[in-house]
């Protein structure tokens, strides 16, 4: 297992390198320049700015410079937030996104797994329909509708929660709910489907036939197997929740990394976009590794 992890970590280095190269190329191929602003600038000023950001050098040299800086963990200065380093922007935005994302993911799992199991065990009974109905509602209301509606109900018509901004834990309640709604639905459905599948499989029938108690069978044999698709889903879900929190961050005025990324992309903020991409890349790769390790732990049949 240890060897596997080390191997994967070593394997991540070329992955990150390729990611970096591709993003660098994409960013610089995109039309529009980070230097273009509301007001046009004189050629002299433009030349100065290009020199400041080393944009007057050939791309390959810029690339080499960027790699060197990255090696020193220096993501450079943001174009959009002129006097701020990308490192400090990430340091400011990530904890917020992480709190939001982790809470939403935890909520999705905490609600989705029991609901899905409940639905599977009581397949085609009232509990099943209730759980599925709830999950359907979660998928069918886009979070840019759910968000403003919640604000109206909980903040405007009733003074229960703040309407936006970041002021204590209360500020996280609505964003987390809005972000988690869709993922609760996914987890519930995946869990239900896989539990039903496992319950019908031969080895569970065998275990039952051997006279093991229903309780034991369920928690020792059914649950780990049924969790597999959910665990598989965790990697993409975590990535999706992190990047997908953009809309929620916008609606509730939360200063997370997702918003930085979108405004960065729209403003052609090369350094910020590259920095966040790389950061996300590392997190996603790390998380996928974690998921695979958990997967192997849950399913002893998986060999590495």
């Amino acid at each position: 297992m240890m060897a596997y992890i080390v191997k994967r970590l070593l394997g991540a280095i070329p992955t990150i390198f390729i990611l970096l190269t591709l993003t660098f190329a994409l960013v610089h191929l995109a039309p529009g320049s980070p230097l273009d602003g509301d007001r046009p600038m004189t050629p002299e000023v433009r030349a100065n700015l290009e020199a400041k950001y080393h944009m007057n050098e050939p791309l390959i040299q810029q690339y080499r410079r960027y790699l060197l800086n990255i090696a020193h963990l220096d993501f450079g200065t943001s174009f959009q937030y002129k006097n701020t380093s990308v490192n400090s922007l990430i340091a400011a935005g990530f904890p917020v996104s992480l709190t939001l994302g982790a809470a939403a993911l935890a909520l999705a799992l905490a609600l989705g797994i029991p609901l899905g199991m409940l639905a599977a065990v009581h397949q085609n009974h009232t509990a099943d329909y209730g759980a599925m109905g709830l999950s359907l509602a979660g998928i069918s209301v886009p979070n840019f509708v759910l968000g403003p509606l919640m604000v109206l109900v909980f903040a405007v018509y009733n003074d229960w929660l703040p309407a936006g901004g970041l002021d204590g834990w209360q500020s996280y309640v609505m964003p987390v709910l809005a972000l988690a709604a869709m993922y609760v639905a996914y987890v519930t459905r995946l869990m239900r489907a896989s539990t039903i599948e496992v319950l019908r499989s031969n080895y569970i029938r065998t275990a039952r036939a051997k006279g093991l108690s229903g309780f034991r069978v369920f928690f020792v044999h059914v649950l780990p197997a049924a969790l597999l698709p959910v665990v598989s889903f965790l990697g993409p879900a975590a990535a999706g929740i992190l990047t997908g929190s953009v809309v929620v961050e916008q609606i509730f005025g939360i200063p997370g990394l997702g918003r930085f990324f979108v405004t960065g992309a729209l403003n052609r903020d090369y350094t910020l976009v590259l920095g966040i991409t790389l950061f996300y890349g590392i997190i996603i790769i790390g998380f996928n590794l974690l998921v695979d390790v958990i997967y192997g732990w849950l399913d002893p049949r998986v060999t590495y």
Partner: protein, 566 residues
């Protein structure tokens, strides 16, 4: 029993409907609006303002955009500021003299003007700041505003060193600025935030990072306390400010909320005292429920559609350009679509500009029928007809009102002339590149907000040399009149020059003015001291927070109000 799944379907539908209906159909007359001034137990008064988008920087010489300007005005104070009615008031400069040839300005700084760390504000600080402002290394987006100063243009273009700028400290508190030519609106440009001073030791020590809260030293009524990007910017009272005794509000918080709907919710929930904008769809409900909190401010802004006169089909086809312009029913656009009290535009200079009466299109007052008929006539004379309709592309940037207007215009042109318009939307940065660097446009959405209060802020951008002239308009008559008007003292002669320029512009019609901008703010009743002005410029030091029921403090007008400009 699969049909019982229908039950879950129905259940889910009900949940959704209830959520939707709860949100939407709540009694329309019920308009929650919490009145909760943020006054701490120790009496600290906090003003919470919505501020649109996040400013890129709080360096007065590098910042651009309205959100940054609002904050900078509280942090820094220049030689002069704008007054309530658009005039110029003394600020850091107590008095000034203008030489007989109107080319030399001598400013006398206040003895008690101080930086937030207690150091006096000196003429030397201003010299440093102006040089930094025009230095190409600073790359200020507004450097060209200062072109009237001796050598400024040469410095901006890199031909001379910043030290040659015509700004000189005669002594510690006397500053002399020399101009190339007399410039009637020079004082107005000094009220712009790019003319604000920065604290030289901080800039020398920290470089670009001098704007960070830990390093920031400012000379305005407030100083920077906290800056959390995309969350809020907090300013606190600058106790060293020369007029600190008249400052009422202790703390100002700026919230970057780009979605006006979210902003309205936060205002209603009691989390904001002042909004940056108001969503157009909610204007009617607001007017019905809290009319006194809604403030409509006609501003120095124009919305126009530009036509690229360097390319087909608009190249050398004045009649076609005029036909399109005439076929737009501006009254409908303003009354039915925008509904926010905007003013239909038939000229180039907004009505909010004081002291100048625009030349207008004579067809402004015609009946719709007559105007449409004339538009059709011109359209046909330009060589188009129902059989050979004009096909053109309308480019607008993502976000904002361009989308709605392009659709409305397309529908109007189709109806009146039979024109076939393809709306095309581009992301902002790409839009800038398309309109600016490549001139790859036919019709495009344009807007311009004046930087200072003088018609020249509008006239100068259509000069054929101006970088902001995206239409490719090139008229010798216009250029000559515009350039001359920059250096003639205010009076009949200058007005005549400006009229010549505007008439030429309207006749040549490289663009169609659509409407003059109005801004909307919601302001809680306990915020006192708001007086609308066309720059939509407000200094927090002039405001107060007085909860209902408390005795209003004697709130004299700010001391400097007494000296209205000459």
């Amino acid at each position: 029993m699969p049909e019982r799944r229908l039950v879950s379907w129905i259940a889910a539908s009900c949940v959704m409907l209830v959520v939707l209906v709860a949100g939407c159909s709540s009694d329309r007359s019920d308009f929650p609006n919490r009145i909760q001034p943020d006054i701490h137990a120790d009496g600290t008064k906090v003003l919470r303002k919505g501020n649109g988008s996040e400013p890129g920087t709080l360096d007065p010489h590098q910042a651009s955009g309205v959100p940054a300007a609002g904050i900078l005005q509280d942090l820094y104070e220049g030689l002069v500021i704008t007054g309530h009615k658009g005039g110029i008031l003394p600020a850091d400069a107590k008095t000034w003299e203008i030489s007989a040839d109107r080319k030399t300005y001598t400013f006398h700084l206040r003895d008690n003007a101080r930086w937030s760390n207690g150091a006096p504000v000196t003429a030397g600080d201003y010299v440093f700041s102006f040089r930094r402002m025009v230095d190409p290394k600073t790359a200020s987006p507004y450097a060209d505003i200062h072109a009237p100063i001796v050598n400024a243009t040469a410095i901006i273009n890199g031909d001379k060193t910043p030290a040659t700028l015509g700004v000189k400290a005669l002594d510690k508190h006397t500053l002399q600025i020399r101009l190339d030519k007399p410039t009637p609106f020079f004082l107005q440009t000094l009220a712009h935030v790019s003319s604000d001073p920065v604290y030289p030791p901080a800039v020398k020590k920290w470089g670009d990072a001098f704007t960070q809260p830990a390093h920031s030293v400012s000379n305005g009524a407030y100083q920077l306390k906290q800056w959390r990007v995309n969350d809020k910017i907090v300013l606190v009272r600058n106790r060293q400010y020369w007029d600190n005794a008249h400052t009422r509000i202790d703390q100002v918080e700026y919230y970057p909320i780009d979605n006006s709907k979210s902003e309205l919710s936060r205002y209603q929930a009691g989390g904001l005292d002042w909004t940056y904008s108001v969503p157009a769809a909610d204007l009617d409900a607001i007017k019905a429920n809290i009319p006194k909190q809604l403030h409509t401010v006609p501003t120095l802004g124009i919305a126009y559609f530009g036509m690229n006169v360097t390319r087909a089909p608009f190249k050398d086809n004045r009649k076609l350009r005029l036909a399109l312009s005439m076929a737009l029913n501006r009254q409908v656009i303003v009354d039915k679509i925008l509904r926010g009290g905007q003013i239909p535009a038939y000229s180039w200079i907004p009505t909010a500009v004081q002291g100048y009466d625009s030349v207008r299109y004579q067809w402004a007052d015609w009946s719709d029928k007559r105007r449409d008929a004339m538009a059709r006539k011109l359209y046909q004379e330009a060589g188009y007809s129902d059989q050979h309709p004009l096909k053109a592309e309308f480019l607008y940037p993502t976000g904002g009102i361009g989308k709605t207007l392009s659709l409305v215009a397309a529908a109007m042109w189709r109806k009146v002339l039979g024109v076939e318009i393809t709306p095309r939307n581009e992301e902002w940065k790409v839009f800038l590149q398309t309109t600016r660097n490549q001139f790859d446009t036919q019709i495009f959405w344009g807007g311009w907000i004046g930087d200072y209060e003088d018609p020249n802020t509008f006239f100068s951008i259509l000069n054929s040399h101006a970088a902001l002239n995206y239409t490719g308009y090139h008229s010798a008559v216009y250029d000559k009149a515009q350039a001359a008007s920059e250096h003639v003292p205010n009076g009949p002669q200058r007005t005549a020059l400006m009229h010549t320029a505007e008439a030429a512009l309207l006749h040549d019609a490289p663009l169609m003015p659509i409407f003059f901008w109005t801004n909307h703010h919601l302001i809680k009743p306990y915020v006192k001291g708001f007086v609308p002005n066309p720059l939509d410029n407000y200094y927090s030091k002039d405001l107060d927070i007085v909860p209902a029921g408390t005795a209003s403090q004697t709130s004299p007008p700010p001391a400097n109000d007494k000296q209205e400009n000459h």
